[in-house]
């Protein structure tokens, strides 16, 4: 776990000024439908950014492109200056080999709306599985890390439980612990509380606030929880039709949005 250092330390001391994430002329089509076009933005190291916007505006697609769950139709995504799926060589766009993609992907973790715990293993095994089989950690090491993480999400006593024995909120906290066990530089959170009963949302957000406070993990957050967005993120990006229509620090965005579409959107959800 990267628990020390404040979010800005690394950016300030790094000799390589490459942003943690850069989208360059990104285009994404599903069949003939263009979802993202000429999308450009950067995310700094340790920065936490909330993506808002109406349903269908492309927020999920952006996260899924970063997680390599969707094919990038055109353009480039850079992580720490390294190409994620496509590189530019002699001005040409070349697709990387699966092995190369896997190297950069290891720096990225994702938590899904539907938790997606593995039903064929216990809570503890859900967390240790990838550290053991992907990072090559020893069983003892992975277990110790997992128990520490379970402690952090308040579920150490449920280590041996089966996922189906947990509430949705508990399952989502395990999913967060599972993503953190891979020690990611970047954490993608796609509406992680949207599938939860209202009374379970608080615990999950509490865990994420703790992660935001105690680590320098770069976070991309899609959420409708505006108070949470205000508390953890340094920047909010408003999307509509696959375009960034406005971006600002949360205070500014939520109190005096400039763009008309942002105003309408915020009025509708608050």
């Amino acid at each position: 776990m990267p628990t020390d250092s404040t979010p800005t330390t690394e950016a300030a001391t790094s000799t390589d000024p490459a942003p943690r994430i850069e989208f360059e002329d990104v285009e994404k089509k599903f069949g003939k439908t263009t979802v993202l076009k000429d999308l450009n933005f950067t995310i700094g190291r340790g920065e936490r950014v909330t993506l808002i916007g109406p349903s269908g505006s492309g927020k999920t697609t952006i996260l899924r492109l970063l997680m390599t769950l969707e094919d990038l139709t055109d353009g480039y995504i850079w992580v720490d200056g390294d190409p994620l799926t496509h590189d530019r060589r002699d001005g040409k766009r070349v697709e990387l080999k699966p092995k190369q993609i896997a190297q950069v992907r290891k720096r990225i973790g994702m938590v899904f709306q539907q938790f997606n715990l593995f039903p064929n293993m216990s809570v503890l095994d859900n967390i240790t599985e990838a550290p053991i089989h992907v990072l090559g950690q020893s069983k003892d090491e992975a277990k110790e890390n997992a128990l520490t993480l379970l402690d952090r999400v308040g579920l150490r006593n449920r280590a041996d439980a089966h996922p189906t024995q947990l509430s949705g909120g508990q399952q989502q906290r395990v999913a967060i612990a599972r993503a953190l066990a891979m020690d990611p530089e970047i954490l993608l959170l796609d509406e992680v509380t949207s599938a939860l009963d209202p009374e379970l949302v608080g615990d999950v957000l509490g865990v994420l606030e703790d992660v935001a406070e105690t680590t320098d993990i770069t976070m991309l957050i899609v959420t409708h929880e505006m108070q949470f967005a205000r508390d953890v993120s340094q920047r909010v990006m408003m999307f509509d039709g696959g375009q960034i229509v406005e971006e600002a620090p949360p205070e500014e965005m939520f109190t005096r949005p400039k763009n008309e579409r942002t105003q309408k959107f915020l009025e509708a959800i608050i």
Partner: protein
């Protein structure tokens, strides 16, 4: 009437002694090969690169679309003449049964892989699992539970399917019942064969259902619940082989 039972009493042990061995061997060999072929072709049709999908699709369609009897004859009579490879009766039977039923099994495997929720595949990718790890550790255990009912069906069909192996000169139950028929008459001979086939199918189906329940419980499905409930279930499972033994 009592004569009928006497005849049945003659036919049953004769069939068990003379015909059961070849039926069971071709069934067991066929079953092992069927599962192997089903897994390989099922994985290839669902996960392979486009060219491999094409090839495995073609293989599946070929073995599903041509008759088992023709395949048997081809392997037994044509193959030795064409290639000089003579497999002998038992291996011919096992090969034909395994390939034919395996082609159907491939569809079961493919369908089960496709039925594992997309979120499970994606989460494995998000955790950077290499393909083999993803399949072996995450997808297969879940798909396995889904494919067992289909395999159960196919294996029961395979039990009955072995009835054609007499065509390649094996002395199986069906062949032997033809022999016994001359002594005891049609009804007792075929009823005896029917009873034995039925009992084999019953055991096969019972074993598969135990496996199915185990697999589901591992996924937290079915009767999975508190520790106490689980212990009761284990007792039922342990009892099952005993029933099988009686059968």
């Amino acid at each position: 009437m009592s004569e009928f039972f006497t005849d049945l009493g003659t036919a049953l042990p004769r069939l068990v002694e003379e015909g059961l061995r070849d039926t069971l061997l071709s069934f067991l060999g066929g079953a092992v090969l069927m599962v192997l072929v089903a897994v390989l072709l099922g994985l290839a049709t669902h996960q392979g690169p486009i060219w491999l999908r094409g090839i495995s699709r073609a293989i599946v369609e070929f073995f599903r679309g041509t008759s088992l009897v023709v395949q048997l004859f081809f392997l037994f009579y044509a193959l030795p003449t064409l290639t000089g490879v003579d497999l002998g009766s038992m291996w011919t039977a096992i090969l034909a049964l395994g390939l034919n039923y395996g082609a159907y099994g491939a569809e079961v495997v493919r369908g089960s892989l496709a039925a594992v929720p997309k979120g499970q595949w994606e989460t494995a990718t998000a955790l950077s699992m290499p393909w083999a790890t993803k399949i072996r550790r995450i997808i297969w255990p879940q798909a396995w539970a889904l494919m067992l009912p289909g395999f159960n069906n196919l294996l029961v069909m395979l039990v009955k399917g072995t009835a054609v192996v007499g065509l390649v000169l094996l002395n199986d139950l069906t062949f032997e019942s033809e022999q016994v028929r001359r002594e005891v008459g049609t009804w007792p001979a075929f009823l005896a064969a029917l009873i034995i086939y039925f009992l084999i199918a019953l055991v096969v189906s019972g074993v598969l259902r135990v496996l199915e329940r185990r697999a589901q419980r591992r996924l937290g499905l079915g009767d999975f619940g508190s520790q106490k409930e689980r212990r009761t279930d284990d007792e039922t499972d342990d009892a099952a082989p005993a029933h099988a033994g009686v059968a």
